[in-house]
Each structure stands twice: as structure tokens, then as C-alpha cells.
């Protein structure tokens, strides 16, 4: 097991950061240990700074944005557009208007699939996805295919649970219009080489959509360096509010796309006979947006920047490395995902002999260790791995070696309860 990143100089103190997150410091009932939260891949916890940003917004600047002439409305509009600029800077987008505010990754991909897909795909076209996608990067395309009739090819896994680049190269020979894939798999933590895959796609004339739900919270992501055409993220996984998120898109592509939802703010002119549409980003933000949530998202991005995304990545790799040392002591444990830790994020998916993953998670909950069990919204990946479900532990900046130790002890206990020796 080789750790490619240098970890000795980790600058991040998980136990200290933990104090920023009120929910992790809640008093527990008598006799219950503190919460070991190992489910950040599902949704992260929120620091004081983000909770305060929402609170302050409602207490001091709330109003509907745009078109308001009075002070509060101007302040709310300014806060919303400043949040957009913060996200553009965070992702290194060329312009703020390349960041469309959405509820979550799922909405981002639905928007891209519908607005870009409907105007670019016909029945004779192909697109490429992968078997490790989250349902949110599968179902929108399945639904669109029902309507339009294009074909979908899937990049399969290698034996090491990475994407098979040989097959990818072959699929590109069929000239797909789009390649869509996760930067990091939520279910097994595989980390894909976005820059290389994007270069290959562009050489073949395909546009690239990256599901960055699991990468943006955990490592530096630069949309210009990666040169992706679309990138989707969820605020709630990056210490931001639920209900916040971004679809990044290259300006030329966004400008050529028809709208997705219709309503206020996204129009230029409405008559009874029809509608003409506003410029980006407004064209894709119909109705009153979740201003407080997007302002909270900007606070989350600022928080991550202050902690340092390089440091977060190192910290998680260090925990991953430690876990990989400790976990093999647990009998009957099978782990999924690439062996090479430099090809992984801080996500560990496993099964424990014949104990069902839910039962493992329930026993861990008895020890106040929060993990997730199930198909992780990646049923095709589960099928490819030959399992119905796994138990998954995922790390974030606020986790510590102690959390890993407790996970290991909890798994021993599960074996014990189920009489699995």
C-alpha cells in the first residue's frame, strides 16, 4: 500500500477543526461516547461560520433579489452575486456568470442534460458514461434517452476498481457527443484523472461533464486547469447548506443553451404569444432563488479555502493510510476500491462476511459511529462489484485517528454479535 502524497507535514488538526462544528460537540446521553461521524460522503456537517452566515442573512439583509430599488433588496442582490463570484473564484472559473446556482448536484446534472442534451443530441448520437456513476448522473440521461433515443456506452471497471482507460479510448472512437463521469466515486472512493480523460474526450470532439460532488469538498478543483465543459457540485457535501449548489459551464456552451425551467428572472420579455429569454446566468435561475443557502455556500467555500484544500486532502489521505493499516485486523472484511491510495479519496466501502451491511451499520450506530450502508445510489456499480450493498465509512477534515480506531473496534464487535469468528 503506497501513499504517493507526502503526509508527514500534515498541517491540519482534525480535533481542533472539530470544535468549529457544533453538531459534533453536542452533549451525548449518559454513557454514550462522542459522535464518530464517518458519513460525510452522504452529507457533511456545518461549521459555525456557515450556520452564522445563514442566520445573519435572515436577520440583516433578507429581501427578494433583482428588480428591488430599496436598500435591503440591493443588499440581498449584492450578497447573492458576491456568492456567485466567490464560487467562481473558488473553482477558478473565468467569469462569475459561468456559475449557475442550483439546489444540488442532481439538479445541476438534470439542467445540463435537459438544456444541453435536448439541443445537442439526436437519436443517432452516442454519449459515454461510466459504471461507477451515482444515479444522479445516470437517471437524467436514461430519462432523456427515452425521449430522444440516443445511445449510451459505459466505461467498465478494471480489476483494481478503476475506470478502464483502454475501453474508454475505444468508446471515443465512436465519436460520442458527450462524456460524463464522476471525479470521485461516492461508493468506492475511486479518484478519476479528470484532466487526462477530458483531453481524450476533447480530442475525440466530445464535451465533458464532471460530477464533482465528491471531489470539490476534499481537494483543489480548478475548472480551467481541468478544462471540463460542465461541472456539478452540491453545497451540503462541502460544509455548506442543503439546498445550495453550482452547475459550472463554459460560457459559450451555456450561452448556446435553451433554458430548463421557466418563470420570473429568466425572461427578457413575456407576451401572451411567447417568451424571450435573459442572458446567463439568469436564464437558468427561474424564480426566487435560495439566496440564504447560496450565501451560506460562499461562506463554506471561504471556510474550505481558509483551512486549505491541499491540507484537507493530505489529512484524509493520512487517515485513509492509517485505516488501511488497521482494518485488515478485522476478520471477514472485504474492501472495494483501488489499492493505490493516490487513486482514492477518503472513502472506504466494505462488506463484513455474511453480515448484511445494514446490520453492520446498526451495530456501529450502537457505538455512536455513523456510517452509511446500502447501494449508495450506485446500483450499477454494486452489480459490477457483485454485491447488493456495502457499508461505507468516509472521512472529512474533522475526523481523527480515534474515529478510525473506533470503527475498527466496532467492526470487531459486529463480528462478535453475529457469532462470526
Amino acid at each position: 500500500m503506497v501513499l504517493s502524497t507526502q503526509t508527514s507535514a500534515t498541517t491540519l488538526d482534525g480535533a481542533a477543526l472539530r470544535r468549529d462544528f457544533p453538531i459534533l460537540n453536542q452533549p451525548q446521553p449518559e454513557g454514550r461516547p462522542p459522535l464518530a461521524f464517518l458519513d460525510s460522503a452522504a452529507s457533511s456537517q456545518k461549521p459555525e461560520q456557515v450556520i452564522q452566515a445563514i442566520d445573519t442573512y435572515y436577520r440583516t439583509i433578507n429581501a427578494n433579489i433583482h428588480r428591488g430599488v430599496y436598500e435591503l433588496s440591493e443588499a440581498a442582490t449584492a450578497a447573492y452575486e458576491a456568492a456567485r463570484q466567490t464560487m467562481a473564484t473558488f473553482l477558478n472559473a473565468r467569469q462569475a456568470r459561468e456559475c449557475i446556482f442550483v439546489r444540488n448536484t442532481t439538479e445541476a446534472i438534470n439542467l445540463a442534460a435537459n438544456a444541453w442534451g435536448r439541443s445537442n443530441l439526436t437519436a443517432n448520437d452516442r454519449i459515454v458514461l461510466t459504471v461507477m456513476e451515482h444515479h444522479s448522473n445516470l437517471v437524467p440521461w436514461h430519462m432523456l434517452r427515452e425521449e430522444i433515443g440516443f445511445s449510451i456506452d459505459y466505461i467498465p471497471l478494471t480489476d483494481d476498481h478503476q475506470l478502464d482507460m483502454t475501453v474508454y479510448a475505444q468508446l471515443l472512437e465512436q465519436k460520442p457527443k458527450l462524456v460524463g463521469f464522476a471525479h470521485v466515486s461516492n461508493a468506492i472512493g475511486a479518484l478519476n484523472d479528470v484532466a487526462a480523460m477530458t483531453r481524450m474526450a476533447h480530442d475525440a470532439g466530445a464535451a465533458v461533464l464532471v460530477d464533482a460532488a465528491q471531489s470539490v469538498p476534499h481537494m483543489p478543483v480548478d475548472v480551467q486547469a481541468l478544462d471540463v465543459d460542465f461541472l456539478a457540485l452540491s453545497g451540503h457535501k462541502m460544509v455548506g447548506p442543503m439546498g445550495s449548489g453550482v452547475l459550472y459551464g463554459k460560457r459559450e456552451l451555456l450561452e448556446a443553451m435553451p433554458p430548463y425551467m421557466g418563470g420570473g428572472s429568466m425572461i427578457r420579455k413575456v407576451t401572451l404569444d411567447g417568451t424571450t429569454f435573459a442572458d446567463i446566468p439568469a436564464r437558468f435561475e427561474a424564480g426566487t432563488p435560495a439566496v440564504a443557502d447560496q450565501v451560506g455556500l460562499a461562506a463554506a467555500a471561504d471556510y474550505l479555502t481558509a483551512v486549505g484544500l491541499e491540507a484537507i486532502r493530505e489529512h484524509e489521505l493520512e487517515l485513509l493510510d492509517y485505516a488501511m493499516e488497521q482494518l485488515p485486523s478485522v476478520p471477514h472484511l472485504t474492501m472495494y476500491g483501488p489499492e493505490d491510495l493516490s487513486k482514492r479519496s477518503g472513502v472506504i466501502s466494505f462488506t463484513l462476511g455474511s453480515i448484511h451491511p445494514h446490520d453492520v451499520a446498526a451495530i456501529l450506530d450502537g457505538e455512536n459511529i455513523a456510517v452509511r450502508a446500502g447501494h449508495h445510489c450506485a446500483q450499477p456499480l454494486m452489480a459490477a462489484l457483485g454485491v447488493v450493498a456495502t457499508t461505507r465509512a468516509s472521512f472529512y477534515m474533522y475526523n481523527t485517528r480515534d474515529d478510525v480506531d473506533r470503527l475498527v473496534a466496532g467492526l470487531h464487535k459486529a463480528n462478535e454479535v453475529f457469532g462470526q469468528v
Binding site: 451491511p357 446490520d359 446498526a362 451495530i363 450502537g366 446500502g374 450493498a389 453475529f418
Partner: protein, 130 residues
């Protein structure tokens, strides 16, 4: 808390399930899934003299869902269909005898939902799960 749901009875039925298998042909067969966690249960029933003469379950899922299916089939085998209709979720939960959170309740009750849906139709089974 979570631990106490793995009492002997559950672990025993999970390990040595009763009436596991399928019946072909069967008078009633129904299968359903807990969409939240993927547990699957199928129940096949043969009826004679308005009673459940034979019953078998198959499927996969957590210990709670599978042990519950095993226990349920034991409860209803040989019983008149009428009484099965009257069987409430409390009856099954009493038999299981473990404290369950809302999410795990659905695991525990999946087998009852499947049994009722198979015999009386999906609508009759609806109250089991709402």
C-alpha cells in the same frame, strides 16, 4: 440501543431461517422491495380449506427483514386466511420483541406487507407501511 435489536431470536432466525425457499406452483406469490435500503422479500403461499397450508419466503436483506419473514411465516402457517387479514403490524412487532427506529420498522414490516399484498392486493397492504 441499536445493539439490543439483535436479540437471540432475531439472530437465530437470521441464521436458521424457517420456511426459506419457494413454492411452485403457488396460490399466491408476491415480491416487494424496500426502496430505501434494497431489502427484498418474496412469499409464496398455498391454500387448502381456506387455510395457509404451505408457505415459503425468499429474498435477501438485513437480519431484521429476513428474521421477520421467517418469524412471520411461522406465525401464519396453518392459520385461516381470515386471521391473516386481521393480523396487525403490532402482532408481528410483538413477536419480534425489539425496539425499532422508523427506518428499521420498514425492514421489519416488509414481510407482512408482502404477505398481505399477495393475498389481498396492494391496497390492503398499504396501511402496513404508512
Amino acid at each position: 440501543m441499536a445493539e439490543s435489536i439483535y436479540r437471540e431470536l432475531i439472530l437465530e432466525h437470521n441464521k436458521n431461517p424457517q420456511n426459506r425457499g419457494t413454492l411452485d406452483p403457488a396460490d399466491y406469490s408476491y415480491q416487494d422491495t424496500n426502496p430505501l435500503c434494497g431489502d427484498e422479500v418474496r412469499i409464496d403461499v398455498r391454500v387448502a380449506d381456506d387455510k395457509i397450508s404451505e408457505i415459503a419466503f425468499s429474498g435477501r436483506g438485513c437480519a431484521i427483514s429476513q428474521a421477520s419473514a421467517s418469524i412471520l411465516t411461522e406465525m401464519v402457517k396453518g392459520q385461516p386466511l381470515d386471521e391473516v387479514k386481521a393480523l396487525s403490524k403490532e402482532d408481528l412487532l410483538d413477536e419480534l420483541g425489539i425496539p425499532l427506529s422508523p427506518a428499521r420498522l420498514k425492514c421489519a414490516l416488509l414481510s407482512l406487507k408482502v404477505l398481505k399484498a399477495g393475498i389481498y392486493g396492494v391496497n390492503a397492504a398499504e396501511d402496513v407501511w404508512q
